[in-house]
Amino acid sequence: MRKKNRVLPGFGLTMGFTLVYLGLVVLIPLSMVVVSVSGMTLKDFIGTVTDPRVTASFELSFGASLTAALINAFAGLLVAWVLVRYEFYGQEVVDALVDLPFALPTAVGGIALTAVYAENGLIGKYLALVGIKAAFTRLGVVIALTFIGLPFVVRTVQPVLKDLDRELEEAARSLGAGRWQTFRRVIFPAIMPASLTGFALAFARAVGEYGSVVFISGNMPMKTEIAPLVIMTKLEQFDVKGAAAVALVMLIVSFFVLLAVNLLQWWNGRYGTAG
């Protein structure tokens, strides 16, 4: 724990600048969504956010994001495990590649996934053989959101797995626990909070995602239209207030997910092995 520090200069100046910049770039613009919605009547607001096209987009955005985050929770755990525990040729390259969805512009990811998963694409044509249509369906939305959320679980679980005390596992083994039992009873509880944090972050990111989805989804209203696209459409029709109403609902959901992440991180710091 750090103690109170009065030797170093610059607290007032740096803190003042931090708060002013934060206010100008983040807080004031964000509050505009609330200000704009407060100019609507309650009836208009409820009418806008319960419009069938809007609720269908919420259902798709939240449902597909949940599915994608679940896929990433399992696959991410596996990738983190393989990267930390095993050694194989090209490991460092694979480890670097995991961050690709963070670094690659979402529009580029979007057109690339569409090209690969379209019916004539490299993977899409094999899916078509077994009768699965990926691009321009809800499956396409899930694929794009899985891509975008992939690094989160890997990157939250990896450091915890690295720091995990191997002696605990050895103790479990010498007390007669099998390999699977050791994983389930000793390793899994330790990495659970980190996996949940990664899951929640992947979900939050997926709900708001736009660029990687719009190319592969086909954007059919009521079917494959995500919530951010509904905001975009309303803006194109100069329905600024309607756009703000949909945005407010999404912001409230993001707020609760962020709150959950913070609670998880606190839990992680308390019970997990990572500080």
Partner: protein, 270 residues
Amino acid sequence: MSPAEPALIRYILTGVALLFLGLFLLIPLAAVFVQAFEKGVAVYFKAVTEPDALAAIRLTLLVAAISVPLNLLFGVVASWAIAKFDFPGKSLLLTLIDIPFAVSPVIAGLMFVLLFGARGGVFGPWLTAHGIKIIFAAPGIVIATLFVTFPFIARELVPLMQAMGSEEEEAAVVLGANGLQTFFLVTLPNIKWGLLYGVTLCTARAMGEFGAVSVVSGHIRGETDTVPLHVETLYNEYNFTAAFAVASILAAVSVAALAAKKIMQLKVER
């Protein structure tokens, strides 16, 4: 070392993990370059050197050149305040800094339309009366990018500076160094790799931002199209080869950013 799994299980787990990464990351990444060069090198170079593409590249570089230094300044100043001092509400402040990570890029763009838009923006009438254009012009693109890339450098530096502690800086101050000397001569050498990594990430994101910029740009070809928006324009015109050619520039930048990250990480570990 605890006993590892039997070799067979190890191979299966590694295989499944690599298959997953291959299907979702490697094949799509490779597809960008394959599609870009599908019709040959000449078509590729024509697509990336035509005037609209060059205008998009210039705009993207301009946006990054303004937004990255501003967020770098914020990141350094904020991490000094947060990592070197104790004050109530620190975790709240960190959560507030994280907000842009959790807000949909489309909502980020919307916020600035609500502030500066000619139709429905709070400052819209005033800006119109004074002939200032923010939305559907370069300033709007810069501001939206500033918001989206806001946390990157601060988030990289705060944990790093917290882990370093303050003893070295305190010694410098006690020995008579002023604040700026302390920062540049003592703190900066310790955080340079993390700083560079944060700047790399921030730059990659600033050049690649799509959703937020898409809302505020207005898509005027050759004027307010950034590189990612130009990719979208070409793609929607069914000019796929040109779209992937321009996209391959961004993909190359992000692969370079990943490589740079790995090299810095290995340097820090050493």
